[in-house]
């Protein structure tokens, strides 16, 4: 009896004082995207932080015709500081476990310290998902998020779905928080997708080359594609080539890439890229029908040439112009030849522009589509 009483007391004690973490689901604000812009004359509040969250009343059954998405903006010293600043404007606390996209205004990237602060904050936080997609806005992040609202009437976080789904092309390569950090760790260089605004519509195109937490250069779609090819990241892409004065297009379905690095006095890198795919387009009434092994061989050669040219051009640019090792040569040496890497590590920036890189491309046309 006494034990029973004690038990009831304990339970009621928990009940009365308990439930520290209980917040009903409808009393939270689920931030879906965060934008960060630089705020030049803000002293301590050097960022302009933008939160985007859905209007729950406008989703689901019996949705109202209100705006689907709310946007809040405030100058703040950090991303989470903004939550405190904004708490005076919203009835409920923010919740960050469903944040999917981080848009960085490119001005932020010019300040290395600020960028490092942002990344550390996100990496340290317990709620932020490490698969957070990172995008760089050519311009202000605020505009990108704003456009998102005007254009799209869904809660599907379409910016996110778009970045996440890179199966449809390789014009940009998605970058997650974890990926970004690990790229910086290994080679100090990384690429994040670039978003721009054109005709009131955002476009994810090409990428932003970052080096040591600092903006380095913008790269266009072709370059991004070439870098993806070197890293073996292409999932679906169509490549054009000139064959017999006709334009042929070739769809890549599978790619494998391999590096061979030789470190002697001179560093020799050999990159093998192997593409597999099918013929997407040729020409009606062609003289040489594609259904012929000889013709296919020649076509493969033509595509090889075009891909190789693209890759070599990109590599040259990376070496000479940007001095950015996004193709992972240094990483490769550090993994497979750790002893040599220890010597090279500190002067890698001087060495990289002059290393000798050779590219071999091997294209296979596996199918020719429905027609001969």
């Amino acid at each position: 009896m006494k034990r029973c009483l004690l038990f009831i007391l304990l339970i009621s004690l928990l009940f009365l004082s308990g439930c520290w973490d209980k917040v009903e689901i409808d009393q939270r604000i689920f931030v879906s995207s965060i934008g960060v812009d630089a705020n030049e004359d803000g002293h301590m509040n050097k960022f302009n932080i933008i939160y985007e969250y859905p209007n729950i009343n406008a989703i689901g059954k019996g949705a109202t015709e209100d705006e689907k998405i709310f946007i809040l903006e405030t100058p703040a010293s950090s991303i989470f500081q903004a939550a405190r600043e904004l708490s005076t404007r919203v009835p409920f606390p923010f919740y960050f476990k469903h944040v999917k996209v981080l848009v960085l205004g490119h001005e932020v990237l010019h300040d290395e310290k600020a960028f490092r602060e942002i990344i550390d904050e996100l990496n340290r936080d317990t709620k932020i998902n490490k698969r957070l997609q990172i995008l760089v806005a050519e311009g202000k992040a605020r505009d990108i998020i704003d456009v998102n609202v005007i254009r799209e009437q869904t809660t599907d976080r379409d910016l996110y779905s778009m970045v996440q789904d890179d199966r449809s092309s390789s014009r940009y390569t998605f970058q997650t928080l974890a990926g970004l950090i690990s790229d910086f760790d290994f080679s100090g260089v990384t690429i994040t997708p670039r978003v721009i605004i054109k005709n009131d519509r955002y476009i994810v195109s090409g990428g932003c080359l970052l080096k040591n937490y600092k903006h380095l250069a913008w790269i266009d779609e072709k370059e991004n594609r070439a870098i993806s090819a070197i890293n073996g990241d292409i999932i679906n892409e169509t490549i054009d080539a000139i064959y017999d004065d006709n334009l042929i297009s070739y769809t890549v379905t599978n790619i494998k890439s391999r590096k061979k690095v030789q470190v002697d006095d001179q560093i020799d890198v050999h990159i093998f890229v192997r593409l597999e795919g099918y013929l997407q387009g040729y020409i009606m009434g062609a003289e040489k029908p594609a259904y012929d092994s000889q013709v296919l061989k020649e076509m493969e050669k033509a595509i090889e040439k075009s891909v190789k040219r693209e890759i070599e051009r990109t590599i040259k640019k990376l070496q000479k112009e940007y001095n950015a090792d996004v193709i992972g040569v240094g990483e490769h040496i550090s993994k497979f030849q750790p002893k040599k890497w220890r010597e090279l590590k500190d002067k890698w920036d001087e060495l990289f522009p002059d290393i000798n890189i050779q590219v071999s491309v091997d294209v296979k046309i596996r199918r020719t589509g429905l027609t001969r």
């Binding site: 928990l14 308990g18 520290w20 973490d21 476990k97 469903h98 990496n123 317990t126 998902n129 490490k130 698969r131 974890a178 950090i181 690990s182 760790d185 290994f186 550090s334 993994k335 497979f336 750790p338 002893k339």
Partner: protein, 364 residues
């Protein structure tokens, strides 16, 4: 029912694995990676292999007089007074481990599940819940362990399957670029993660087939080494060595990144944390039990049930001494480590040597 009040060797194996795998598994990969970088696996491997001789020592101890409990053997060999001193060392070790484990546990739960719930509440509820299993017989602990065992193994397999397609396994390299001078430090860092096999001291004498239990105990040790190695390599290959060294709990960090194709659950860390509660429960339970049995023996009681409730405040107070997570590891962790060596390594060896000396004398 010839087997009543006995436990099978299979149960011993499960008991050892579930007791050893606990809070250590969350931080172990980064602990060894900080010392040895990519070669951290060798620290894990050696730390486990070094523990095996001590298991053998404990096993040998029981072969002095099969069927007798550890206490009885110790009384026989080194006498009552010395045994009580030994028991006190073991008891304080258990208290330290318990305090360390529950404190760390509460910190992790606070980080990943319940941010605002006070540490005190988490520690107290955990201790109250484990008190229930600690008051049971060792057979009950063994049965419980057998049911938790598949959860641990299943979790590791799940981790492996989910991460295989996404991970960049070249991140593991260079595998053999190891600074050999640092190996002892790495072993030291991993050694405490293998604490828990001392539960054998309280379980082996009622084994169904004592002659074969060594095989199973050593087997369970290899199992744990395997689990730790798999987790180490997965955490390493996920984001590379630099991020691994940066993380406090890399195992959960990996889980946080898992992208389930079916899209049924997101942010798996919460779910895994919840399951991990069971794993820690299965670690704290046996330690708590052993702690109770030891103190009961010191005071000469037959039943340990009475002591368990009185241990709760003691553990609770010690667990709350450190100010923050860093000091938890510095104070409780290192004291626990020293006591671990004293209680699990030195005490059994002394008893064993004493037994051989006595035997030798009797023969002469």
């Amino acid at each position: 029912m010839q087997g009543k009040n006995k436990i099978s060797n299979r149960q011993i194996k499960a008991l050892l694995v579930t007791t050893i795998v606990g809070v250590g598994v969350l931080s172990l990969p980064s602990d060894v990676a900080i010392v040895l970088n990519n070669g951290g696996w060798i620290g894990i491997l050696l730390g486990g292999l070094i523990s095996i001789p001590f298991i053998m020592v404990i096993n040998k101890l029981f072969s002095i007089d099969p069927g007798k409990s550890f206490f009885q053997i110790s009384y026989q060999v080194v006498g009552r007074a010395v045994t009580k001193v030994f028991l006190f060392i073991i008891f304080s070790y258990f208290i330290m481990v318990l305090a360390y484990t529950v404190r760390l546990f509460s910190e992790v739960i606070k980080t990943y599940l319940l941010e605002n719930t006070p540490t005190e509440v988490i520690i107290l509820t955990m201790l109250l819940a484990t008190a229930y299993i600690a008051r049971s017989k060792i057979e009950v602990l063994a049965r419980f362990a057998v049911m938790i065992y598949p959860i641990i193994v299943g979790f590791v397999i799940f981790l492996l399957v989910v991460n295989l397609p996404n991970n960049d396994f070249t991140n593991i390299l260079p595998l053999f670029d190891i600074d050999y001078k640092l190996i002892p430090r790495a072993v030291y860092a991993s050694f405490f993660s293998y604490a828990g096999y001392e539960i054998l001291l309280f379980a082996q004498h009622i084994s169904e087939d004592e002659s074969r239990s060594l095989k199973y105990s050593v087997g369970s040790m290899f199992m744990v080494i395997g689990i730790y190695l798999v987790i180490f390599f997965i955490t390493l290959s996920r984001n590379g060595i630099h991020q691994l060294k940066r993380e406090i709990w890399p195992t959960i960090a990996v889980i946080k990144e898992i992208d389930l194709p079916g899209y049924f659950l997101e942010n798996l860390d919460g779910v895994v944390m919840a399951v991990w509660v069971l794993v820690v429960y299965a670690t704290v339970g046996p330690f708590f039990y052993a702690c109770g049995v030891t103190i009961a023996e010191i005071f000469g009681f037959n039943s340990h049930k009475l002591f368990i409730p009185f241990l709760i405040p003691l553990i609770y107070i010690i667990a709350l001494i450190p100010d923050n997570l860093v000091t938890v590891n510095e104070i409780l962790g290192s004291i626990g480590n020293y006591l671990n060596v004293a209680a699990v390594v030195i005490v059994p060896i002394i008893i064993l040597i004493a037994a051989y000396v006595r035997k030798g004398r009797e023969k002469v």
